[in-house]
C-alpha cells in the first residue's frame, strides 16, 4: 500500500462498504420475538455462561424500531402471524431474521389448524436454527453465519 506508507501510517485505506458492514456485524441489536419455550434457551444464550455479547449482540432492544436482528423464538400461530409481520415491517433497514427453533423454522412437531408452518411463509429468513429447543451453541453458530453473511464472505468450514 504505497499511499499508506506515503502518509507514514497515519491513515488506513479500506472500502466504505467493508467498514460499514464490519461495524454492523459486531453491533447487532437483537429483538426477541419470544412466544414459547425456546425463550429459555435465549435466556441461557444471553446469560454469562454463553454470553452472546462476545459477538457484539448483547443489547436486546424491546422495540422493533431500535433493533436490526429479529429473532423469532417459538411457535407462531395463525392468530399471531399478522403481529409478527407488523413487527418485521417496523424494523429499519438493514435487518436480518433468525428463525430460532424447529417451530419457527417449519412448524416443528405441530401440524394442526392453529400453527403456521414455518415463519418463512410470512417473512424472509436469513438463518434457520433447528432443534427443540436449540442449544445455545447452535445459536452462536447461527450468529457467526449471519456475521459472515453481513460482510458478504462465505462461512469457512
Amino acid at each position: 500500500m504505497g499511499l499508506e506508507n506515503l502518509l507514514r501510517g497515519s491513515v488506513i485505506l479500506a472500502k466504505l462498504d467493508e467498514v460499514v458492514n464490519w461495524g454492523r456485524k459486531w453491533s447487532l441489536y437483537p429483538y426477541a420475538f419470544a412466544t414459547a419455550c425456546c425463550a429459555m434457551e435465549f435466556m441461557a444464550l444471553m446469560g454469562s455462561h454463553y454470553d452472546l455479547s462476545r459477538f457484539g449482540a448483547e443489547a436486546v432492544r424491546w422495540s422493533p424500531r431500535q433493533a436490526d436482528l429479529l429473532m423469532v423464538i417459538g411457535t407462531i400461530s395463525h392468530k399471531q402471524a399478522p403481529i409478527l409481520k407488523r413487527v418485521y415491517e417496523q424494523m429499519c433497514e438493514p435487518k436480518w431474521v433468525i428463525a430460532f427453533g424447529a417451530c419457527a423454522c417449519s412448524g416443528g412437531f405441530y401440524d394442526n389448524y392453529a400453527t403456521v408452518m414455518g415463519i418463512d411463509t410470512i417473512i424472509p429468513v436469513d438463518v434457520y436454527v433447528p432443534g427443540c429447543p436449540p442449544r445455545p451453541e447452535y445459536v452462536i453458530d447461527a450468529v457467526m453465519k449471519l456475521q459472515a453473511k453481513i460482510t458478504g464472505k462465505r462461512d469457512k468450514k
Binding site: 395463525h78 392468530k79 399471531q80 402471524a81 399478522p82 403481529i83 407488523r86 401440524d111 394442526n112 389448524y113 392453529a114 403456521v116 408452518m117 411463509t121 410470512i122
Partner: protein, 165 residues
C-alpha cells in the same frame, strides 16, 4: 342412599321425564338429561337447599360422530363447595339442530366456556350475550375439534380482522 345417588334421586323426583340415563363410574355421578329444560335443571341443582351445586367447574362438549345417534354431548361439571360433592350433567345435541340454552344467567363464568365450545364445535348457545369465537379468529372456516374437520386442512394466512389495514 349415599351422596352419589342422592342428587340423582332428587332430580328424578322433580324432573321425571327429563332424565334419560344415569351412570356411576369410578365414583363419578353422571346424569344424562334432555336439552329442553337444561336451564331449569341446572338452576335447581345450584339453588336447592340440600344440593347447592354452586360452582360450574367446566362446560365442554364431545363429538360422537358415527358412534351415537345424537352426535354431540354438551357436558357440565358441577361442584358443591358446601357439600364437597361433584356431579356431571350430559346433554345430547343433534347435528341438525346444534343449539342449547345458554347458562350464562345462572353462572356468569359460563360465558367464555360457551364461546370456546362454539368456537371448537359449532354449538350455538341460545341467549348468550356475546357468542363470538374466543380462541380462533373470525375468518377461520370450520370448527376444528369436530371429528370430521380434516386433519391436514390448511387455513389461509389471515389474522385478526382488526389488524388489517
Amino acid at each position: 342412599m349415599n351422596e352419589k345417588e342422592f342428587p340423582v334421586v332428587k332430580l328424578k323426583e322433580k324432573f321425571t321425564d327429563e332424565i334419560i340415563g344415569e351412570d356411576y363410574f369410578r365414583g363419578d355421578t353422571t346424569v344424562i338429561v334432555k336439552k329442553e329444560r337444561i336451564k331449569e335443571i341446572l338452576s335447581f341443582l345450584k339453588n336447592d337447599e340440600q344440593l347447592r351445586f354452586n360452582f360450574l367447574m367446566d362446560l365442554t362438549c364431545v363429538d360422537y360422530l358415527g358412534k351415537k345417534s345424537e352426535r354431540f354431548e354438551v357436558v357440565y361439571h358441577l361442584y358443591s363447595l358446601g357439600n364437597n360433592w361433584r356431579i356431571r350433567i350430559k346433554v345430547p345435541v343433534s347435528e341438525e339442530d346444534p343449539t342449547v340454552d345458554s347458562v350464562t344467567d345462572i353462572w356468569i363464568g359460563a360465558n367464555w366456556f360457551e364461546r370456546e365450545v362454539y368456537d371448537m364445535f359449532g354449538i350455538f348457545f341460545k341467549g348468550h350475550p356475546d357468542l363470538r369465537r374466543i380462541l380462533l379468529y373470525p375468518e377461520f372456516e370450520g370448527h376444528p375439534l369436530r371429528k370430521d374437520y380434516p386433519v391436514k386442512k390448511r387455513q389461509p394466512l389471515v389474522g385478526p380482522s382488526d389488524w388489517k389495514e
